[in-house]
Structure formats: structure tokens, C-alpha cells
Symmetry: C3
Subunit: 109 residues, 3 copies
């Protein structure tokens, strides 16, 4: 078993969830926040047999889109310059950030 952890945009969360269910892939969702844009996103935890990891990755790729998001001036603490951005700035947010973790044991009670 492997544990796939995928951070996706909220807009794609239902579509990805339904696509996983249709392929009988089980998953758990957590509400999360990006540290740069400080806006909400969704973290999926998907426990899957090693031989189905590639089909989970393809499913994530097919159902999660990259989009431009406006970074509002008040949250732009993270700039290297004076510390704030006077104008709204457009940031390209990717479709998914994915980690595949090794699993020592998997159990269901």
C-alpha cells in the first residue's frame, strides 16, 4: 500500500472526489490553506495498492486544473521587497501538488 497526499484547489475537489469513487478508490479529504496565498485548498489522503498509484496520479492530473488567482495586497506578507505589494498580483496556481508516501502497515477494523 502507498499513501498518496494531494493538495488541490477547492474548485476541483468535488470533481476529483467523484472520479475516485467511480473507480472504487477510497479517500479522505481535509480542509487546508496554502502558506503563500493564504486561501483555502483541499488535501486528499488516498491509500492505494502500489500497482494503482499510476492510475490515481493520472486521475488527479485529469481532474485538477491550474488557474490564475489574484493575490490581494493585504496578504502579500511574503514578498522580498518592502513587505507589501501595492497592486493586486496574478499568481499561477498549479492543479495539484502530490506526495506518494511509503506505508509500513495498512489495517481496517
Amino acid at each position: 500500500k502507498k499513501l498518496v497526499i494531494a493538495v488541490v484547489q477547492d474548485k476541483d475537489s468535488s470533481r476529483l472526489s467523484d472520479a475516485l469513487v467511480k473507480q472504487n478508490l477510497r479517500a479522505t479529504k481535509l480542509a487546508s490553506t496554502g502558506s503563500f496565498l493564504k486561501s483555502g485548498n483541499t488535501t486528499f489522503m488516498i491509500g492505494v495498492e502500489e500497482d494503482r498509484v499510476d492510475s490515481v496520479l493520472k486521475l488527479i492530473q485529469d481532474n485538477c486544473r491550474s488557474r490564475k488567482q489574484i493575490m490581494s495586497p493585504i496578504t502579500s506578507m511574503g514578498t522580498n521587497a518592502e513587505g507589501y505589494v501595492p497592486y493586486p498580483v496574478e499568481v499561477e496556481v498549479g492543479g495539484a501538488t502530490v506526495f506518494v508516501l511509503p506505508v509500513d502497515q495498512f489495517l481496517q477494523f
Copy 2:
């Protein structure tokens, strides 16, 4: 050290939390959602010495019950057929879904 990740039903969350504290086992809880029933559940993260993994697993098994849950027709996007279930359907939800992950380093500051 190992990191035990356990997805349990909300109804068992306090009982499991108290049982862990009584055995001086430390844990962190996260609010989560099941991708199939789309209802709330609880994800525990329990960092524990390798030689205590078995007692954590037994504690989870003893404190988390499986139950039948009603799946309401509007959330049943995931069926293979027309895409919706006309009548409420009973689904058996297990007591816990558990992953034991290897840990390279554990630190407390």
C-alpha cells in the same frame, strides 16, 4: 518512531482521544471528510515508538466501532449506474482505517 494515521468515525473520536491520553500516548486530531459518504469523520496522527505500535492499534480497535450509516440520495454521485440512488441506502462504515508510516526523524522544540 512511527506515525500512525487513523481515520475514525466522529462518534468514537472523544473515547479514542481519552484512551490515548490515559496510556500517555500523544496525538493530534484533524477534522476530515469521507469521499464516498461526504460526511464528517476524524483523522488522528499518533507519533509513537516502534515497540508501542501494536498497543496503539489494539487501542484503536477497542475504541472504534463499525456502524451502519444512511447514505442520502442527494450525495450519491458516486454510483456506477445512472448517477443517483432514488432511495436512502444503508452503508456499513468500519471502525477505523489505519496507516502506519515510517519516520526518518522526530524532534520536539
Copy 3:
């Protein structure tokens, strides 16, 4: 790549988040709860190249403080004695509890 999971106090969450962004380290935050004090804290997931793990750990250590928190009598289910603590008790909460996890694959779509 490694996945650093750090449980920190809510009070340090923004400072740590901004410090990570300044060093161009990417992270995702999750709202969480401690199982002993049953009060809110923050769990960071930080995917980072293996050669930057030490600088992430130092950043966490520099930005997260330990503090005394008052444990209110009603939540002290976890004591070993009668099961409740008659007086408010002071508990020292550390700055951060950190797990460094191995990662098989890292992808961004």
C-alpha cells in the same frame, strides 16, 4: 524530497508561515487539535528537498515558542486519578512537534 509535518501553536502559525515564504519554502497548513488539552493548534505539511530539511527544522525552532497553557478543569478527562482535576493546572506546551517522513514520489501538475 522529504515531507516535514510540524504541529505548532496557533500563536506561531503566521510567523512560521511568513518565514517559510521568505525563504521560498512551500507549505500547506491544516487546522488541528491536541488530544490532551483539546485546544486548537496548527499542522504544517512542508515538502522540501532533502538538503534543505535542516534549514526548515531551524526555521521551525526559531519561530515557534514553548508556552504555559492553562488546562481548564472540565477538559481534564485524561488524568490518571479520579478522572477530573479540581483546580486549573498549568501545562508547558512545546514550540513544535516535528516528523520528517520519507517520500517515494513528488509531482506537480
